[in-house]
């Protein structure tokens, strides 16, 4: 569907905006403790930056950078981080997602271990949401054809 079209303004603007959108996504993720935001919103922002690249350039050029194989790995990897932290808490003798017991393996106290645990879970959520939305858009834009990679 999305073919290459030569528009200098659109391409330059997309190229300039993409790193700022991704930096703002990381800001939203890490400030999610204290302010509105968090993993889901940050993940949607990361996905929006890749969707902007797909719209401004073409599908093939973007999937060279963010291939479908890597997309599948991210899709599963985020869930793995989320569930892995939860199960790690059980293995260390606490409840599921009870981050304070993470202080046994991290060099911090229980309170800081709670903050770091929720940060790890949010990072997992961000990776999965970003990869999932990008894969939905790639499927919609390419009529479900396999672009190679996975």
């Amino acid at each position: 569907m999305i073919k290459k079209h030569d528009d200098l303004i659109v391409e330059t603007l997309a190229r300039l905006l993409t790193p700022f959108i991704q930096a703002f996504a990381l800001y939203v993720l890490f400030l999610g403790h204290y302010s509105p935001g968090g993993g889901f919103q940050g993940g949607v922002l990361v996905a929006a930056s890749f969707i902007l690249l797909i719209i401004a350039f073409d599908l093939e050029k973007t999937t060279e950078r963010f291939s479908e194989k890597f997309n599948v790995i991210c899709n599963g990897g985020g869930v793995f981080i989320y569930a892995g932290i939860g199960v790690l808490c059980i293995l260390l003798g606490g409840n599921l997602l009870d981050y304070s017991v993470l202080s046994k393996i991290l060099p911090v106290g229980p309170e800081e271990a709670r903050a770091l645990g929720i940060l790890g879970v949010e990072i997992g959520v961000e990776i999965t949401v970003a990869a999932c939305l990008v894969s939905i858009f790639i499927d919609l834009a390419s009529k479900g054809e396999n672009l190679g990679g996975s």
Binding site: P36, F40, Q41, A47, A48, F137, A141, K143
Partner: protein, 81 residues
């Protein structure tokens, strides 16, 4: 809560919602739905639910409009019958 602002936003939400349902062209409907999402985002911000408003601004007005446009791209502009 400023009731005048609330009233204006609610009226605009109502207008855009009805317009999105009643417009015949699918592409116009998708764009009006994006405007509806943005107005809902403003309404939620005004009511103090900033987290919900942030989600609405990113998902509703940002990504889902692009998804709708990408899906409409596969349809034809006029109906066959």
């Amino acid at each position: 809560m400023i009731w005048q602002l609330d009233l204006i936003l609610l009226l605009l939400v109502l207008i855009t919602g009805i317009a999105a349902l009643s417009v015949k062209d699918l592409l116009s409907s998708a764009i009006i739905l994006g405007a509806y999402s943005f107005l809902m985002c403003l309404l939620w911000t005004e009511m103090g639910a900033v987290d919900v408003a942030f989600t609405e601004a990113t998902v509703g007005a940002g990504v889902s409009t692009v998804f709708f446009v990408a899906a409409i791209y596969h349809t034809t502009r006029r109906t066959k019958d």
